[in-house]
Each structure stands twice: as C-alpha cells, then as structure tokens.
Subunit: 241 residues, 2 copies
C-alpha cells in the first residue's frame, strides 16, 4: 500500500506554523505497514491543489489530506477532492453530520450559518465523525481506486479522528517495524566507515541530527514476531562490527 | 520569485523526525519576498528525487533542498541535482572545500576517507561553506534558469548556512510582510461571519489551531514602509467590524 501525505494551508507555506500532522501520520502509517512515498504541502489555492490531486489519483492507494475543511471561503479541500473524484453530482446533506453540527451550535446559542456546508458529502463517501470540532472528515474513492482521506487541520481533531475513525478502514499486506539507536560515534562519516550498511531486510541507515548520529534499523514482515526476528538479526550484525 | 522547498530523507517519511528546516526556510523566504508555492518531502530514493527535480526545473526560480549531502551511499542529493542540471561533465575537486575537510579531519586525527566526495562540485557551482559540519552546500543553475540550492540536513548547519551564505545570493522584487492576531472569537466559523475576508492586498485569512483561531493579515509591497501602511489599512478594516 502506497501513500501520499498532503497538508493544505497557506499558513504552513508562510512558516507561521509547523506541520506536525504529517509526522504524526507518517509515524502511525509506518506501524500499520503503509509506505509513505512522499509528503506535499500546498496553500489554499484551488488550481494548485487540484493539480496535486489529479497527479496523485491512480498513483497512490491512499492520499491522507489534512486541513482546509473549515467553513470559510478559503477552505477548499472537500470541494476540490469531490471534483477530482467526479462525485459532484451525488452531493447531499448528511443528516447525522447536520445533527451533530446543530447540537454543537445549539449548545453555544448560535445559528449554524456558514457551517452547513460542512455537513454536505457525496452519497458514496465514508463520513468520519469529529467530536472535537465542527469539521467532519471523509473518505472518497476515485474511479482510479485511490482513496482520498480528508482530515481536519487542528492537530487534536486530526489525531483523534485518525485513531478512532480512520484506522479501521485501512488495509495493509505487511508491517514495517523500525528501531533507532544513538551511536557512540559522533558523525555520519565515522559510522559509515565502521558499520555494514548493505542489505535489504532489515535496512540499516544512518542519519545525522543536531544531537549526533542515529542508526535506523527497519524490518518488513508479515507480523510483529517475524519483524522482531529480522530486527534482532540487524542488531547482531551491528554488534559484530 | 517562486520557490519550492524540498526536504530529502527517509527518516522524515517514517515519522522519525519533524522537518523543522522547511518551516525555517518558509518563514525567512516570506520576509525576503520569495513566494513558496509548495513543499515536498521525498526519501533517499534516486528515481523519485530525480522526478521531483525534473518537474521543478524551469517551473520555479528557486528550489531549496535540505538533506542528503552526507558522505554515505544513501546521500544522493548532489549527484541527482548535478545530473538534472546536466553538469556531470564539469565535476571537479574543489580545493578550498577539500582543505576545510582535511582541516576538520586532521583535528580529529582521522583519515578523510569517504568524505572526499563532499568536496566535489561542478565548476559553475556557487559553493556554500559549512563551518558547522563536513557537508558544504552549493547553488546549481540549470539550463532552464532554475537555481537549485543544496543545504545540509542537520538544522544547526542548515540555518547557519542559510543566514550566512545563501541570503546574499537571493533576489526578490518585493517584500511580503504579515502580522497575526489571536482573536477573541473562539472558532473559525464565528470569525468568518464577523470579519470581512475579501480583498487582495492586504489579504486577511483565518486559520484554526489547537489554541483557538488566528487571523493573518498579509501585505505585499516594494518596501517595509509601504507594507506597514497596507497592514495598517487591514487592521483598521478589522476594527470597524
């Protein structure tokens, strides 16, 4: 299963906020055995978002999208994704989402106003509840069998929806498990000359951080037990050096 | 001036680290009046990196790349960028970079070994010194007039190089200045119904965070003074609501 993680928001391109959603998704998708091939960030711009979605359609099994599900004019994620999937002709007001929204606004003694659009979905969409905010998410399936998974931008809404609503719909044929080790060697060059970095499963890769060099050992396996055995082999290989 | 920010590293796609480099660059490029159109992250994979660079070539004025400049086999950034720019036939050992590397290793009583490749650059490259590590950066110009700016991955090396080496080479025809304001309204829907979000310069956009809703007012101008006047107009418009 191959995935793209896509964040949508001009505030990220301006450097106003750090995109922590992508790392959260990457980290959890890895554990679920879904390979993240790329991450992309675009602004609140219809044309550019559409280009990215059209390119991704048919190329990835999953496209995880965060942001742009709000009620304002510049929140364009659902509209564009619906268009790319060719689902514009089956839009309808989802009663259960509308009820949740009405409930939310009643409690605040407010009229629902512009938020009504957040309850409109294509008939074939899988709707993902958002008890933490007003924007429900959804899964849209394109004619090219790509699943577009639309999640809200605020991290506490996104992570709650991913953990409680999204995970159960994801498929995977294997798991990926990795362990990282901080090494006594301080720099990448030093490690590379001392450690055998060849081999496919597990892979062993060094990477440099501001706090020194890290070795990442990664196994691909059908289950946890097999993964642990493969990781053990990798660690043994390291110790022999 | 239009820019792409590209981070390279499997460790980011696996969620092992947060990519703080992209936010740093975005934030500083905005102040320099360079528009960031997109951010992309790819792993240490030659084919996929090459695809991204080929697509970016001629489309952007600047492509800021972080990561993959280390000495090991999986550090492929420079090799791929040189290939895409068609500069493979003018590679040479840069004496001054080699001296800095030799100096670095002499101080540690180490042989330079695999790091020698870090001192090899195309003749036409602008080389960017790295007093904080072993990987010099560089600026490569393609035949389609895109400048590829290669920077190291470790944040303290990257930020130092950007501030001290890269900035002086960047051109821009205007500046972008933005201010953000936390609002008394708690949610995006509330703000959107009370605030006039139309207008081009300044633009006024709300975005939701875990700590409530933020309004961003952004001006595009020829200098700081003009930008401040435009921002003042935007703030006045908000106050009238």
């Amino acid at each position: 299963m191959q995935a793209l993680i896509l964040s949508i928001g001009t505030e990220i391109l301006l450097g106003n906020i750090t995109d922590t959603n992508s790392q959260y998704l990457a980290n959890h998708l890895k554990d679920l055995g879904i390979d993240v091939y790329k991450m992309i960030t675009v602004g609140d711009n219809k044309k550019r978002l559409k280009n990215v979605l059209e390119e991704a359609d048919g190329k990835y099994d999953y496209v995880f999208m965060t942001g742009g599900l709000g009620p304002t004019e510049d929140d364009i994620t659902k509209e564009v994704a619906v268009e790319v999937c060719g689902l514009d002709n089956e839009l309808e007001l989802d009663k259960s989402s509308l009820e949740m929204l009405e409930d939310y606004f009643n409690k605040k003694n407010k009229a629902i106003s512009i938020n009504k659009k957040q309850a409109i979905f294509p008939k074939s969409a899988t709707i993902l509840k958002n008890p933490k905010g007003t924007a429900p998410g959804c899964i849209l399936k394109s004619k090219n069998n790509t699943k577009f998974i639309l999640l809200p931008g605020p991290p506490h809404e996104m992570t709650h929806m991913f953990d409680n609503e999204v995970k159960k719909y994801l498929e995977s044929s294997y798991i990926i498990k990795s362990v990282t080790a901080k090494t006594a060697f301080l720099r990448e060059w030093d490690m590379a000359s001392r450690v055998d970095l060849t081999g496919d499963n597990p892979t062993i890769s060094p990477y440099a951080t501001d706090n020194g060099c890290i070795l990442r050992i990664t196994a691909k396996a059908k289950d946890e037990k097999e993964a642990d055995e493969i990781l053990k082999k990798g660690i043994k290989r390291l110790k022999n050096h």
